[in-house]
Subunit: 249 residues, 2 copies
């Protein structure tokens, strides 16, 4: 058995998320079918994160086990050929030790959320960002974001469907900055709760609009009640950026 670590880039628009679903297409299913088409083996792909419908990835990490040892270049080329026309690409492939696990070995995940802050609707960036017409005060958003950094019970920012054992997570970084009409929110943690990034972004957008202040964010966190959540930002602005592992990136 040989374990292959894959780096996946995908447009999440046509998928019901990364994880295999009974009710619609998923990134996992597409990759597993490409593997079978390539070498006839039925595999179960493991990944660093489980993204929702519409959420994108620049560099999701995953692994698959194959009976045979192939040149990694051959694996990525073959998977990319069989993945067409799905908007999923294997951008890197390497052989890893059998105890390397895309999910359990992962020590850090980072996301970026892209807001297009303007009145005009999106064209080139449609399904690639959240368009917010009200002017956002990105400095106030960044300041309020710091309330969420550190170890907290993030129950307020957790989906009702979240399967994590504990709502306590340590958020390492939550930075908000602007470039022209774009506002970016970068989030980094060992792991996140289901909907955590989108929930945090939704509340920060309220702060940017002047509807909430920093104290309100602190109070919402303190309450540990999903009802206190202001807004869940839409999935299409969210991108899985990278996963960190012990030895290398």
């Amino acid at each position: 058995m040989t374990r292959y670590a894959l780096t996946l880039e995908f447009d999440g628009t046509p998928f019901m998320g990364l994880q295999r679903q009974t009710h619609g297409p998923s990134v996992q299913q597409a990759v597993e079918e490409a593997v079978e088409a390539f070498c006839g083996e039925q595999v179960r792909m493991q990944s660093a994160g489980r993204t929702d419908t519409g959420v994108h990835a620049y560099a999701m990490r995953a692994h698959i086990d194959l009976e045979r040892e192939w040149p990694t270049f051959k694996v990525s080329e073959a998977l990319n050929a069989h993945l067409r026309p799905h908007p999923i690409a294997v951008t890197h492939c390497e052989i890893v030790p059998d105890d390397w696990h895309a999910r359990f070995s992962c020590e850090g995940r980072s996301y970026i959320y892209r807001i297009c802050n303007r009145r005009a609707p999106l064209t080139i960036e449609k399904n690639r960002a959240w368009q917010v017409p009200q002017h956002l005060d990105e400095a106030a958003m960044h300041d309020a974001a710091q309330v969420l950094v550190g170890q907290h019970d993030f129950t307020t920012f957790r989906s009702v469907n979240c399967q994590a054992q504990s709502p306590v997570k340590t958020l390492d970084r939550l930075n908000v900055y602007r470039r022209d009409e774009w506002v970016f929110i970068e989030a980094e943690a060992r792991s996140f709760l289901h909907h955590q990034v989108r929930s945090m972004v939704g509340c920060l957008a309220y702060v940017g609009m002047g509807r909430w202040d920093k104290q309100r964010v602190a109070a919402a966190l303190e309450t540990k009640d999903r009802q206190a959540l202001g807004l869940n930002a839409p999935p299409y602005g969210l991108y899985f950026v990278s996963a960190k592992y012990p030895d290398k990136t």
Copy 2:
């Protein structure tokens, strides 16, 4: 009569180009229909450039004339509402003097061409860039590009359908640079021939692959023969960036 200057952003994928065509949808037709839906007036839109099928625009400039003087905010909001679901947005609207002409007053046009230089197919950037799997030497491309800068007879880089009276144009700037796996080509001139940017990019890509050298580009230009052209780069990597006018940008 009031003249309104519009700034348009669009995804060129679903259109037969900017200019109205009898055989398919165009940006011009979509905007003109939105104008009629908004105020009942039938107008003929003029624009700074005429882009091809699949070519995008970040900030195309255009103008329309309306009998009535509306607040510009109302015009852009109404057009954006009526333009849905076309991937076209009016990002700016202002009232200009009657002798201001989007096409004839324009003193400079700039384009950017985006190449994704990697083996893996495009996902998030599908239809937004040209994927070139062979490694490109962007320094050699930039060096060869300088052969084309200045006043030349660009017949070699001109479409057979080009309607310009003269093939002589002055290319003000042609810069090639890389950011990670992306190679960008910026072109600036008072005006361009039909297919000129894509033809220049195609030849520069040959240089980047090592198939052509700088001398070959100079020879192709010198020949003034379309047959000497190496390659016409595909339209979906090309973006109209901006148009310059006497008084303001």
